[in-house]
């Protein structure tokens, strides 16, 4: 287990290009705590896999350094960095038993047989693989095979970090629930630094203590799931986290008021020195907007569709040209779809050129 520092790390697949805007990973400096559970979250092409491959040593950075516990490992191979990896598809040996598969990374490193037995039985127990230890891996389902892959990634206690690259993509929803909470429990149990790459917000938010959101080669925010949800630092985070994502619309902001379509929305904080010429928007999550009967002092909207998710309903509404989502209470009904929006002022944020503005109390 190690602390990992990234120092001015950047990568361009086109060699050492002078134009930073074309970098797959723009320069970043950050620290990954020893024993932390991290998720790297973002859409395809955001640079998350590039960053993971730089940490594991599969690719060498165009510039910058990677330190494990203060020691520069940038020139070292994956093996020398002492990293365990779990990939999207199971990587196991069909001819070996489940137990032999789990033992393989330890055997390879010359761990004494007795220690291997103890560790393999511990990991097998945590992953509910104990009954299968003596079975050949070849006839197992894809799910079971991926469980073995997870076990192999976790079996060594001396690794600097365990890296997961979309490990649950091929798993059915029900088992996904089990494995996700299992991974989280394993993290609490094993004290390993874990980095989990995914484009699935639910997987990222439920697994990690710290979620690192990437967009266009940059880290746009790094924080706890609650921070990302309640206070997105960038409109992209607002959009990407949450389903539906945050509502974002252009507004005129002055002091404690935002003006949208001629209606005033009150703000909790005061915004007096917004940068001149910047694109000003307000952002509010659907969970913090209520739908009510139309009233003169409410922002008027038209309901276009209702998404019934079983445990909750969201109304898709239109405010002028802007599409908007809002949580719909069981009690609300409307015949013509006309409604008014009520905003929870504490959760209306102001953005200048897509970045959160703090405002003053």
């Amino acid at each position: 287990m190690s602390r990992i520092d990234l120092v001015d790390l950047a990568h361009s697949y086109g060699g050492n290009s002078a134009d930073e805007s074309t970098y797959a990973l723009k320069p970043i400096s950050m620290t990954w705590r020893q024993g932390g559970a991290y998720a790297l979250l973002g859409p395809s092409g955001c640079g998350k896999t590039t960053l993971l491959n730089l940490i594991s040593g599969i690719i060498a950075p165009s510039r910058g350094k990677i330190l494990f516990d203060g020691k520069d490992v940038t020139p070292l191979s994956t093996q020398k960095r002492n990293i365990a990896q779990v990939f999207q598809f199971p990587v196991i040996y069909d001819t070996m038993t489940v137990g032999q598969n789990l033992a393989f990374p330890l055997k390879n490193r010359g761990v004494p047989r007795r220690d291997i037995e103890v560790r393999v039985s511990e990991i097998a127990h945590l992953l509910d693989l104990t009954p299968h230890l003596n079975r050949k891996a070849t006839r197992l389902t894809a799910d079971a095979k991926q469980k073995i892959s997870l076990g192999r990634g976790l079996v060594r206690s001396d690794v600097a970090a365990v890296l997961f690259d979309e490990p649950l993509t091929v798993i059915d929803p029900e088992l996904k629930w089990q494995l996700r909470s299992k991974l989280k429990a394993l993290h609490l149990e094993l004290d390993l630094t874990m980095i989990y790459v995914t484009h699935d917000q639910t997987e990222a938010l439920t697994f990690a203590d710290t979620v690192v959101v990437m967009h266009d080669g940059r880290v746009v925010q790094s924080g706890t799931p609650a921070e990302l949800f309640e206070k997105p630092a960038h409109t992209f985070v607002g959009y990407f986290i949450g389903s539906p994502g945050m509502n974002i619309m252009p507004a005129e902001v002055k002091g404690r008021e935002a003006r949208v379509n001629g209606r005033v929305i009150s703000l909790k904080r005061s915004y007096d020195s917004l940068p001149a010429g910047a694109k000003i928007e307000i952002g509010v999550r659907p969970e913090f907007v209520d739908i009510a009967k139309p009233a003169p002092d409410l922002l008027a909207a038209q309901i276009e569709r209702i998404d019934d998710l079983g445990r909750m309903r969201f109304a898709r509404v239109r405010v002028g040209d802007v599409k908007f989502a809002a949580r719909l209470r069981e009690s609300f009904s409307s015949t013509d779809g006309k409604c008014g929006l009520i905003f929870d002022a504490a959760h209306v944020h102001v953005y200048a050129d897509s970045r959160l503005v703090e405002g003053t109390p």
Partner: protein, 359 residues
């Protein structure tokens, strides 16, 4: 037009992949095939498409048996999980390809490609080749090609499974509109309950090659006829507890006894299993009339808008979902609370005997 499967069974090497499925699909409707991997969703699609023949039973199109008719003579389009496009052709040519094969005149091709591109928001990308597109754009190209063909039957086999979460969300929101505009029969396979709910239409719940229940999506969700249907149609997984009703009270497995109020009034004495989805389980509110169970927190998963609390009670795992951010410590004990009006009760044969709103 309509397509019917009539007591269709299909066996491969003596193993039955589809067991006695009967199903009718009407023009202009959407049917979701919901079930886990290997439940028979793809097999059903291949039978509908005519790629496979039933071992017993018949496939009827507009009442006529087509079990033996060559697939090339049927009007079918298919979209797979792994999107397939011609890498050397532009997006325009990819979409146009089925029309070129059909030998349509140029003006018609232009018109129909333009329509499909507009529907799938592909207009800006028509001159690019698939490799210059994101995964979502490539899959939209594959869907556009399936639509432009004008097939009577469009089969979509987990078309969004390989896409990014956000793209999935966006396409899912667009699909019902696309289905409505086209008027064909759509069949959509998925493993995800939330996808079925968002798409609406009707849902066929699949399990081990059988069509367990077939009906209006919201009805199947709210009144699953069997325990298995409730399980297939629950994400997070359905929570379960055994009960015994006797002399006006219910005794829960693991030892909580309570008066048989709410839906328990509707059932006779005997042993049952009670199922409840994560949002039907509350935490720590001792409201009179509710049934409380001491439980231990194993882990809390927080997404921001919701918190999933994994609980252990009497060696059984339950999941509760709460709105907003709620942190609980692993090992902490608390009360899991059930509303006897908001549960599903299944009899010894796993058939639904009571559900919310079924009074």
């Amino acid at each position: 037009m309509s397509v019917t499967l009539e007591h269709v069974t299909r066996a491969v090497d003596g193993m039955e992949t589809i067991r006695d499925v009967s199903l009718t699909l009407e023009r202009g409707t959407l049917a979701v095939l919901l079930g886990p991997t290997l439940s028979g969703k793809t097999s059903i699609m291949r039978l509908l498409a005519g790629l496979d023949k039933p071992t017993t039973g018949r496939v009827l199109v507009d009442g006529k048996d087509v079990s033996g008719i060559d697939v090339r003579r049927r009007s079918v389009a298919m979209v797979y999980q792994q999107f397939i496009n011609y890498p050397s052709l532009t997006v325009y040519e990819n979409i146009a390809s089925p029309l070129r094969v059909q030998g349509k005149p140029r003006e018609e091709i232009e018109k129909r490609v333009a329509e499909a591109a507009k529907l799938l928001r592909l207009e800006p990308y028509l001159k690019r080749t698939p490799l210059q597109l994101s995964g979502g754009q490539q899959q939209r190209t594959a869907i556009a090609r399936a639509l432009v063909k004008g097939a009577d039957l469009v089969l979509l086999d987990e078309p969004l499974a390989n896409l990014d979460y956000k793209l999935r969300e966006e396409l899912r929101a667009e699909l019902p509109r696309i289905f409505e505009a086209s008027g064909a029969i759509f069949v959509y396979a998925t493993t995800e309950p939330s996808e079925a709910l968002l798409l609406g239409g009707r849902t066929v719940c699949m399990w081990e090659g059988k069509a367990l229940q077939n009906g209006d999506t919201s009805k199947v969700y709210r009144h699953p006829e069997t325990l298995r249907v409730a399980q297939v149609f629950s994400d997070p997984p359905l929570n379960l507890v055994g009960i015994e009703k006797k002399n006006g009270s219910v005794r829960y497995a693991g030892g909580v006894e309570a008066p048989a109020t709410g839906l328990y009034q509707k059932i006779g004495d005997g042993a049952y299993r009670v199922g409840f989805r994560a949002h039907q389980l509350e935490i720590g509110k001792g409201v009179p009339g509710r049934h409380a169970f001491p439980a231990t927190v194993s882990i809390t998963e927080i997404t921001g808008s919701e918190s999933f609390v994994h609980l252990k009670r009497d060696s059984v795992n339950w999941v509760a979902v709460l709105h907003g951010v709620h942190e609980f410590e692993p090992g902490q004990t608390l009360d899991a609370v059930l509303d006897p009006d908001n549960i599903f009760v299944f009899d010894a044969a796993d058939r639904l005997v009571a559900s919310p709103g079924s009074m």
